[in-house]
Symmetry: C2
Subunit: 271 residues, 2 copies
């Protein structure tokens, strides 16, 4: 008689700094029998899994990611049907361009119990580590997050570049390759060419690098810089000069806080 299926946890691993995983997400990793993880996941997170856990790299180069989604879904289902506790560990948040929704639907169709564990999105955290708040009173009262991944191929996945706000903050994930075309389209759609812009590479990690410019110049300014990158367009970029006055805003992982494996001896009893 087949045993009951295991559960699948769709876990957001956060933006890069391993200390930015959630407590709940860390708990899932520590209970996992099988982990299917994306590229760019910090080794420190995988190191938290039990010694017996099977770690499966399902990361692909970005241009190959689409074809493998059905395979990933099939693996999640097969391991759960074998009674395993399965963690699907994704960069950032599972529902922010992470295809977590597709995986969740596949699990529903297969009758596999699952839970979503949200994560810190690099759309907010990478700018924060670079000294850029995505919202700021009197400066930006909204922010829009889009993927630049499929810009230019004209399919239905392409963001509607002409239907984006002309004010507020714009954050592009995975768009660095298409930046010349994207910035041209944004200017054509009414964004001021002198809007401040920043490209943040390896945001929130010790390798973080930031290039700043304007909407008109950033594609050229950042052309030497490789992915992964988070791109921020908006007046909030102008706050970076003041907010990065102290090194700590750009600091990498707070190693002393990682991992959290010691109870605070003096902790209050729960109130």
């Amino acid at each position: 008689m087949p045993e009951a299926p295991g559960k699948v946890y769709l876990v957001g691993g956060g933006p890069g700094d391993p200390g930015l995983i959630t407590v709940k997400g860390l708990g899932c990793l520590r209970a996992a029998d099988v982990v299917l993880y994306d590229r760019l996941i910090a080794p420190a997170l995988l190191a938290e899994t039990p010694a017996w856990a099977e770690l499966i790299d399902v990361g692909k180069a970005p241009e190959k990611a689409r074809g493998s989604q059905a395979e990933i879904n099939a693996q999640l289902i097969a391991h759960a049907r074998a009674g395993k506790t399965v963690v699907r560990l994704k960069g950032g948040d599972p529902f922010v361009f992470g295809r977590g929704g597709e995986e969740a639907l596949a699990l529903v169709e297969a009758g596999i119990p699952f839970e979503v564990v949200p994560g810190v999105t690099s759309a907010v955290a990478a700018p924060a580590y670079a000294g850029i708040p995505v919202t700021h009173r009197h400066v930006a009262q909204s922010f829009t997050v889009v993927t630049g991944h499929t810009a230019g191929d004209g399919d239905e996945n392409g963001a509607a570049w002409d239907d984006l706000p002309r004010s507020g903050t714009l954050v592009l994930l995975m768009g660095v390759k298409h930046l010349p075309e994207i910035t041209a389209r944004l200017i054509a759609a009414g964004r001021a060419a002198d809007t401040p812009a920043a490209v943040i590479h390896w945001g929130t990690t010790a390798r973080q690098q930031v290039v700043t410019g304007t909407l008109a110049t950033i594609a050229s300014d950042a052309r030497e810089a490789p992915p992964p990158a988070t791109i921020v367009i908006g007046e909030v970029v102008g706050l970076r000069a003041a907010l990065s006055a102290f090194g700590p805003v750009e600091a990498g992982p707070l190693e002393a806080d990682w991992p959290v494996d010691q109870p605070a001896e003096t902790a209050r009893s729960a109130s």
Copy 2:
């Protein structure tokens, strides 16, 4: 001779479920001498602070929050100047309508070292717990987050309601009170009146409740429901019927994983 100032950590406490705080944020709480916390912060988070820590409630009813910001800044500076390790614990993420940027600028001006610890934003996590992914392939390739807080008072804080995308997902934080006016303005600006919409109360907590409707009906559908609320407008709301097929997506805190105070005895050595 005055001692060196302490450091201030601007920490995102996450959307409600205490398990969604980051590991780094939890480390800050466990090291805090003073914690200034917002309303709606989970008691389980405050319980993680050392027994000697001073816990200061700086939360105000939303309509009174503005006046007290200068006081909060002054308190952060005073405690840091006394050599304390200070945590400013905020709901969600410090830079998503959290006025973290203002606090950071005040600290820069005062010469106080600080660090920002991003958090999981309720703009993404509350919909996720309600079975709504903010992005989904072929359904929504962008999401925009705005505050409905100041809608209708016509000041510079008001979002530019006519300058929002007509496609993609729209998430409103703190807007439930102004929902009738906001939905009318969105329809006038070109959003289809039959766009699916959801209001999520007490998102990610055990008290979570979800009301669904359309852009035309949601203000009326949700009129009995009190704040705090996260409002989602867009075709992704239609995925909820399928994705909430299992209870777990809507589950509250995963108590078994909280707090993370036991090292995994079988954890791998760091790779």
